[in-house]
Symmetry: C2
Subunit: 368 residues, 2 copies
């Protein structure tokens, strides 16, 4: 949803002062009765430690949380074994992605992304008047590194290459080794953002983080978020990891602008000894329910390394979205050119059982 | 404090993984024992309605709060009697200020600000490589409109003029009528940001908002915040009001990036029938304690229309800051060229009585 459609839904609903009519368009999270499988959120909700930390910090919402930001920065730096100067907290990793676009390509800029992929980088480039080259994913749904590289190498100016790995919305992996090889050997006029939003869900032994390389290469930024495995999407807290000089350049565009409750929630989440494991376990269970159902219904799907799955439909995604909503389930929006696919986020196992029952019913009606 | 000094304090403190040593530099809000008169915060803390709303929303911190953002946008629009398309929520009004700089001046850009004034706009311009012309405040400490206008009119490219009214750190007013006259008659290549962060504290009958004009002039943005009278500084929630086309241009650089708890807290604060009045009343009481003390000590001060006061010292501000901190009180940092002035934020009346006692003691020691 973009800002225009977001506002249009409010306006269509009538009086600007009334909240109730807005609910027709999107249910407010606080009153949601629908099963929300459309936002790649973590249905477990925040870790118990995070809930407690927020509750304790409510009274200090009137204070600028500089010290808590320093504390979380140090805590994250400690976990990655890097210095605090290599970490930049953002209002969601999406803020970091947007600022990085602005900083990492200047002269005759080109931004290169996969198609489909997470849109924050491409959209920001467009908003800044930067040309975006979208390279369709390869046959195995990984980023087509060969074609992306050709695009960068044939561009006369500076290029910025965006990898979302695992990729959203396909849930698929691109070889860490191949990304590393390219980044390590790339000339200075090619920069890279590697978005590791779904890092903790990956169980593939060949997959690893590009953070070690980011400390050496000034033209690489790695983005991480607390929105997924830590279930804090609504608090907009994420971070970038890069060479201190790169971090300094990016941070010049956003100053001391942290939400106190997001900081304490993220910090407490990192201290929770069980939550990540619990999130991953719940996600694995939900994934199994969905893949079993899809197999039973003969609907093919891409291998998922995330908290969502991209699967085939026999009809058009738009009809399917509407029917699912009519039955109380929100599923992923269209991701062109995958118009006969649906991205289904993995909710709680209990929710996925309801989804599975609905899918069988839909098949009975010939809708999928 | 900028990012470097913020991190330096962490690093000087030793191990990156340890939080405790950081506290030496800035006390975490959650453990503050010091009287904090350095951040223009509202010491009352969030409104009871806001606290309750946050508490209720903790469990949905895992959800993207699109509907709550639409609801708050409509609520704010309703209060100002404008359409939702004229409102853009930001992570603090400072995010709106920064994005506006980027959007409002393009061709051969010049940013014109007062000196001293709130730094977000000038710093963002510098970070973007835009020249900043700082015009010293006039003899009555208002913005020097004549010289600012000369700067804009003699600049061959596009100009962006920033007014902070009342101004931070001087707490003084600039004539609404004179700002309005200039904005209304300015050519298209001159844009304006009017920052009304301290709007609700002003009791001067000649003062009013520029929001009505912002709806007509595409080259004007008015910024408002929930950080001051609503006591939500730590939640980073503010907004811009402008012509829908201007809002659209700014919003293209920040997408759907709202903190769920900030949204519900702001929305609940607006519904609280008493909180603004209570904030203003408490602030008035604190101001009286401070002005009485300053008069008693023969320390002159600028007329305050905000929740802080700029007053004269007989010594250097740097010594004074250190001594105050040694005695448990944090006061405002230096604001060049006002090096023999201190900006003191107005805390609770009980805190200002402690401050007053300390001031008398300082006078006894010949320090002020």
């Amino acid at each position: 949803m973009n800002r225009r459609s977001f506002l249009r839904s409010s306006i269509a609903a009538g009086s600007a002062g009334l909240a109730a009519p807005l609910l027709r368009a999107v249910p407010p999270a606080s009153q949601a009765k629908l099963i929300q499988l459309n936002g790649n959120e973590n249905a477990l909700g925040p870790a118990p430690t995070a809930r407690e930390a927020i509750e304790k910090a409510i009274t200090i919402s009137n204070r600028y949380p500089f010290a808590d930001a320093a504390k979380l920065t140090a805590q994250i730096a400690g976990r990655h074994g890097v210095s605090s100067e290599s970490i930049l907290l953002g209002n969601g990793s999406s803020e970091i992605l947007r600022l990085a676009v602005q900083v990492l390509v200047k002269r005759d800029p080109l931004v290169i992304t996969a198609r489909p992929t997470y849109e924050a980088v491409g959209r920001q480039a467009t908003a800044l008047g930067i040309e975006v080259k979208q390279v369709p994913v390869a046959g195995d749904y990984s980023h087509d590194l060969r074609r992306m590289r050709q695009s960068a190498e044939s561009h006369p100016g500076e290029s910025l290459v965006y990898f979302c790995n695992p990729n959203n919305p396909t849930a698929t992996l691109t070889s860490t080794q191949e990304i590393q090889d390219w980044v390590a050997s790339a000339p200075d006029d090619t920069s890279f953002i590697v978005d590791e939003a779904y890092f903790d869900y990956v169980e593939d032994a060949q997959y690893s983080s590009l953070i070690p390389l980011a400390l050496k290469k000034k033209n690489l930024l790695v983005a991480r978020t607390f929105s997924k495995v830590y279930a804090l999407a609504g608090l907009r807290i994420g971070y970038g990891v890069a060479h201190p000089e790169t971090i300094d350049r990016i941070s010049s565009l956003t100053r001391l602008n942290w939400n106190a409750l997001a900081l304490v929630a993220a910090s407490a989440s990192l201290r929770d000894p069980n939550f990540v494991q619990q999130s991953v376990r719940s996600n694995r269970e939900s994934k199994l329910i969905v893949t079993d159902t899809l197999r039973e219904l003969n609907l093919s799907f891409l291998p998922s390394h995330t908290n969502f799955i991209m699967h085939r439909l026999s009809g058009d995604i738009r009809d399917y979205i509407k029917r699912m909503k009519d039955h109380g389930v929100l599923v992923g929006r269209p991701f062109p050119p995958f118009d006969t696919y649906c991205r289904i986020s993995l909710g709680l196992p209990s929710e996925m059982k309801q989804y599975a029952a609905l899918m069988r019913m839909f098949r009975g009606k010939g809708w999928i």
